[in-house]
Symmetry: C2
Subunit: 343 residues, 2 copies
């Protein structure tokens, strides 16, 4: 690329900010270095952190922000009142094309509200979803919406299906991705009112490849590229997946440590298990982009450590390089064109 990708990073957002944010971002520079890291936040604290590392100064810049939005603040109020927060300044940089993307591990609601109010939505996309890549037995599925729209309507779920298909095709290289709707049974007549109303829309849509209902039990086993649901359900799925895996692995470890043969066995199985744990490590895919904005905004877990931050930086660079937003935009325009032709 002729020009470096400019990645604005909320240095103050998340439980482990700013240390893990800066550590992880700098680690990404070791993987690829054709981007500029713009740390947004308290300049003094960022400089102190940066002193610990010997990063190339040409790749790192600081934009000072005097305020921070806390995890518990009311999103709308916070975005409106804290104009000098790292979150608002970072989002404005994307809006003003001073950065190609913005990533934050801060207040999810504020990222969501700020993304829409400041960066703005692509014309034709009324409800941008949070999209998370989740590892499965067969590979990876894109789950959306993961929490941006908790009371979504059928037409929103249809747009999630379309945007998700673009993402999987262009970012993950899946040709003609399959789309399923999360449901509580495999039959078409199963589900709540939202699912029953959405099902025919997905079935009749000529653009996506709809394969029907997917039960939650089958999600970890994979078999579907794009998984569509409203934000409450998506958030529950994502967190049940994380919680169950983390609880089980913790207890397996604990039970092995409780006996000598367990300890020895544990040492022997370590190499075999390592590959498995890497395969099912969700942080390898980085954060959840808010898809459908006039710029890229990515939300990381509040508890993100350096590794997730690093992977999110690389994800941001890939996403920008592959011009995914242009593709979503072009797509939204085509749909609008079709809609106009039909009327």
């Amino acid at each position: 690329m002729s020009e470096n990708i400019r990645i604005a990073i909320d240095a103050m957002g998340g439980d482990n900010a700013p240390s893990a944010i800066i550590e992880g971002s700098l680690q990404a520079l070791k993987v690829r270095s054709d981007f500029e890291l713009i740390f947004v936040g308290d300049e003094k604290r960022i400089r102190e952190e940066l002193k610990k590392y010997s990063a190339e100064s040409k790749n790192v810049r600081i934009v000072h922000a005097s305020e921070t939005i806390d995890m518990s603040e009311h999103p709308v109020n916070a975005i409106r009142s804290k104009k000098d927060s790292s979150l608002v300044i970072g989002l404005k940089m994307v809006k003003n094309k001073e950065a190609d993307c913005f990533m934050s591990a801060g207040n999810s609601g504020a990222v969501l509200v700020g993304g829409q109010l400041i960066v703005g939505r692509i014309r034709g996309i009324s409800r941008p979803p949070f999209a998370s890549l989740i590892p499965t037995e067969k590979g990876v599925s894109l789950l959306l919406d993961c929490g941006a729209n908790v009371d979504a309507r059928p037409e929103h779920l249809l747009s999630f299906a379309r945007i998700g298909s673009i993402y999987m095709e262009n970012v993950m290289g899946v040709a003609n991705p399959s789309v399923g709707i999360v449901n509580i049974g495999a039959e078409e007549e199963k589900g709540n009112a939202l699912v029953k109303d959405t099902y025919p829309l997905l079935k009749q849509d000529g653009v996506i490849r709809f394969i029907g209902s997917v039960e939650a039990r089958d999600i970890p086993f994979g078999g579907c590229d794009v998984l569509v649901c409203e934000g409450f359900t998506g958030n529950v799925i994502l967190k049940m997946y994380e919680g169950t895996a983390s609880m089980l692995l913790k207890n397996i470890k604990k039970s092995l440590m409780s006996s000598l043969t367990g300890k020895i066995g544990g040492l022997l199985i370590k190499p075999s298990l390592k590959g498995l744990l890497t395969t099912f490590d969700a942080t390898q895919y980085g954060g959840a982009p808010l898809l459908g904005l006039n710029g890229l905004v990515v939300k990381m877990h509040g508890s993100s450590k350096a590794k997730e931050v690093k992977n999110t930086v690389i994800q941001c660079a890939d996403f920008t390089e592959r011009k995914i937003n242009d593709k979503i935009q072009a797509y939204a325009q085509t749909l609008q064109g079709n809609a106009n032709n039909n009327t």
Copy 2:
């Protein structure tokens, strides 16, 4: 007990019927024998299965049913048209006090519809929920509703909280059980419209011990005795839990078998892991009762094997012996009395 508990069993329902149903039911007789098993279904097939075992004939009875409701049949139509099905006959036996309870691994929707239409609801309980005990790191939580009411309203969730508290106190012996609402954040203002409207009802209720929102990530770690949500979310939680655990354990096993050191390590860790797997085996708790009917109706997984059937028979006997339904009924009356006093 002076009189035997009469447990009617749908011998024809489920993927493994009638063999696993009969095998599991007879296994339960080895744990306690103060009940009568009433197999409802095709008499000839049941007799053929029974020939394989040497069960005491005084504990086993057959009630012939010429029809079977399939898993894919429309619940309401099936209940109305198949009057001679094992499901309808079994439910009628509960209605007519010819059996103390009825258990089935058949069509969930038909169990739900039939339970309400044939057995009938306790006065004051408008939406009986499916209640599942789920193993957690700290012990066990009761999750309700697990799929009976997919578009429930706030007042229904309040009744789930109350019924669930009675269940945990009386069946599981938890004094003053804690109640949480499944949510996508810990703060009171988080959630979808249903959760936001239900939260104040639970908070203001003087009967239950409400502890606030519980995020899905924390569910496997426990910390709450009764977990309340509407049926779609509950079903997704239950199935994500099962699916994630089953996928991970399958892949751990597979990865160990892929190398010699893994295989040896696997043998060494087997004793340590066995206890763990027993702890987190959901089938140990039996099926999901449909709480709030004028009799006990329990739904097992469609895929139930002998073990879950056995545990459900024992669960049915315990439930009947402890007169849980009388307690829910007494409770519903008190609430109605209070409601009348308040008006």
